[in-house]
Amino acid sequence: MARIGVFICHCGENISATVDCPKVSEVAAKFPGVAYSVDYKYMCSDPGQSLVVNAIKEHKLTGIVVSACSPRMHEPTFRRACAEAGLNPYLCEMANIREHCSWVHEKGDRTDQKAIDVVRMMVEKVKRNNALMSIKVPVTKTALVIGGGVAGIQAALDIANAGHKVVMVEREPSIGGHMSQLSETFPTLDCSQCILTPRMVEVAQNPNITLYTYAEVESVEGFVGNFNVKIRKKAKSIDETLCNGCGMCTTKCPQKKIPNEFELGMGNRPAIYVPFPQAVPNVPVIDRLNCTYYKNGKCKICEKFCQPKAIRFDQEDEIIEVAVGAISICTGFDVKKTDFFPEYGYGKHKDIIDGLQFERMASASGPTLGAIRRPSDGAEPKKIVFVACAGSRDPAKGIEYCSKICCMYTAKHAILYKHKVHDGTAYIFYMDIRAAGKNYDEFTRRAIEEDNAQYIRGRVSSIYERDGKLIVIGTDTLMNHETVEIEADMVVLATAGVANQGAEELAQKLHVSYDQHRFFSEAHPKLKPVETNTAGIYLAGACQSPKDIPESVAAASGVAGKISCLFSSSELTREPLIAFVDRIAAPDYSSCTGCFLCQPVCPYNAIEKEDIKDRAGNLIKSLAYINPGLCQGCGTCVAICKSKSIDIDGYTNQQMYSEVDALLNS
């Protein structure tokens, strides 16, 4: 027999000014199953809570209804009070008579009646509540970091330094990401590699970090605290344990004319190569598509010259399985290539380059050793045009968002150009200068005032080549929309930052959502900026949206903080309001018919197939099984279940039907 306690709160006058609280209490006392009913000025205050605790003990209550504000406000408070009184906290319900009643209705009988109805509804519900225990899940204290750019490096180091194990997976042969390609960084103009390389080395040397380069995530299964990840380690054709990084193989390789990806095609590399001199690990890989041996079956010159005998032509891809508790996605971004722009010649003019190519050109270790040169003829460009927002903020042809980093790096490019070509002129076509950030605006002012960058507010309609010059046609919206025509030697397009290649597949492997631009989506744009909708999977850096270095690093440290929190105890506690499939005695085992209609509707892939077998191991029945670690409690499966075999704690069919019944059959 249920013994329910009803506690009507006046909330000062917030409720009692409109709702006749004593009357509600009086009526509630007569509801079947109600053993105790009381009204009080402030139920959430200390004495109010004591009232609840004492009543539970004194009247041996089996459930309580607190009729007060929204459960979104004080449900945890009263659940704690229940627990204090020795009552299971999930035997507490709240009837919302403030936000949904006293604040929105006029004083009167109909309002009182509504309050009474709402209390009756919750009394009927709480009678059917089950005592629930919060769910405990073990946590594997190893983190997987996908992507070895600056965000991945930061996240990995922070997690490792907190004392946890980290597995880092990088698609390229070396970690470093886009930051290792940059020349100098804004707004301080310090050299990108000089600040990044030490951190890359730290990653390689940290005993807590296991680094897999030239590797990709093959599959991910499991849930927060307990992910099983398969990593495909692509064959480098090198025995990494033997290679001493002497680089002899790379100098002897007869293939020398393969476009270098790291230099964005502005330089060449051999078929066996290290992407750049500071690479971590400093182990070459053989590019099998271009290697003479793999193409023709003959060559093996590298093997001949390799002193430690580390070349392995027969090496195969290796699948490594790791168990991790949390995953950080740090896969970064990509930039639109110049061939995206028909009005700028579809990438057919060699002297129209993108911002990343300019970075390589300006880098002391780049293809021109830091000299600014036209790719077509190697001449020093005396007039250079930078086009900001090339593709960004252009819903008609490009992408509608702002790529965020271009204003700043374009200002930096203009400064670097001026530092290298003293008698040259840099023109910058821009829409707006977006320089919000510490010392950012000062930096763009510096480009304009000290380095004489010619900022022209307007867009470029077309660029064409004529007699070796690039004719840039644009407009100057601040000068009466005059058409501006510049005969430039070189053009740099600040092309839009876009989601990295393969982002979509990775999102599907990890079951995290992504937006229409294929950037990964955060769980909440403001309050959960580094979490994804899948518990235990986090985001850092430009894989989420275009971000500059400080932002990426900050997000990465944020992720490391989140993961360290998760790893701070060996078990996870979760709310038990999740779905379950009923179980009954043999020979039926469950009313579930095994139709698995529930499987595709589950957004969390929480529904698995469970086989019931007899002792001989023969299959009797296949049932749906809801993994409590994965279920987030949306209940979509409950509504779709044709045999009504799935139910959800906290919102069971019994509870919901009796609520409706109680509401209307007064």
């Binding site: 028909p342 009005e343 010649g345 579809y346 057919k348 077309s462 064409y464 080549e465 004529r466 004719i471």
Partner: protein
């Protein structure tokens, strides 16, 4: 082979040679072009600036008439007419209320079953495959294909070729044996709208086009729009004034180029009607062979 045909005002007036060349080529290749009975003005260029309903009703009447005549495909050589027709079709098929209203206005039922072809699409679908068997000459000249504004815009509605760097005419010209050059002004404005009211602007805009083409060594400009043609051909004095030099690169219609390759009489193609004399001659006799067209890949991408 029977196709619907809408000449429009230009082809009956200032650009008679365009009509003559289209007809001559069609006749030579056994294609029958049937004019829409009782056709009216398409509404270009003024109607859509003044009255939306009128600008849709004028082309809609023509389209409905063509449907009534049992035509399924309509060749519209004039780029302005083509633009108005396709825009009308798009608007009416995407706006039920307007569709109903226009039907009331024209007193006919426009169903939207008609396929509208511009001259390039017409060539691609019905002519290009017949060239090999019928070509007498190769147009062994350097030419600049000029598309103008209306043929490829608005891209979302027409879904034809690449807006900024179209290729379809170049493919046709290469098939005819011409060296079609890559140049900068393929789709720049020629100033047609100001041909009469502000000839100086035409001198500047068209002047740049003709100058760039001749600077890059083009022996002729190839066009597919009567406005482009009349501007570039007729307003040469204004262009020469702007450029400060006399440029006598002729401007021909793509159908005239095809006609020349087919060995059709120059007069029949209307080549005598141009202001800038078309001196192109000494064509190489055509010998049937496997022609490798470089740009087919680009075509497929489109």
């Amino acid at each position: 082979m029977k196709l619907g045909f809408y000449p429009g005002c230009s082809l009956e007036g200032a650009s008679r040679e365009y009509n003559e060349s289209v007809q001559a080529v069609a006749e030579k290749l056994g294609i029958e072009l049937v004019s829409i009975p009782d056709w009216n003005c398409c509404g270009a260029t003024a109607a859509h600036n003044l009255d939306k309903e009128l600008s849709l009703s004028l082309p809609a009447r023509n389209l409905a008439l063509a449907e009534e005549a049992g035509l399924t495909e309509l060749v519209v050589p004039c780029a302005a007419c083509y633009s108005r027709f396709t825009v009308t079709q798009h608007e009416l098929l995407h706006d039920n209320a307007m569709h109903k209203k226009v039907n009331e206005i024209i007193g006919k039922e426009y169903k939207g079953t008609l396929r509208i072809l511009n001259v390039i699409q017409f060539i691609e679908e019905y002519i290009i495959d017949k060239l090999e068997d019928n070509m007498k000459f190769e147009i062994n000249k350097k030419v600049a294909c000029y598309y103008g504004c209306l043929l490829v815009r608005p891209n979302k509605i027409l879904n034809f070729d690449r807006t900024e760097d179209p290729q379809t005419m170049d493919v046709v010209m290469k098939k005819l044996g011409a060296d079609s050059i890559d140049w900068a002004f393929k789709t720049e404005c020629c100033g047609a709208g100001f041909s009469v009211s502000f000839t100086e602007a035409v001198g500047r805009l068209s002047g740049k086009i003709i100058e760039d083409a001749s600077h890059r060594g083009a022996e002729a400009l190839v066009v597919a729009c009567p406005m482009c043609h009349s501007n570039l051909d007729m307003r040469r004095p204004a262009m020469d004034k702007y450029n400060g030099k006399k440029i006598d690169t002729p401007v021909i219609y793509i159908t005239q180029a095809i006609g020349l390759a087919l060995g059709i009489d120059r007069k029949k193609l209307g080549l005598n009607r141009h202001f800038v004399p078309v001196k192109l001659d000494n064509f190489k006799p055509y010998v049937k062979k496997e022609v490798v067209v470089e740009n087919t890949q680009i075509m497929e991408e489109i």
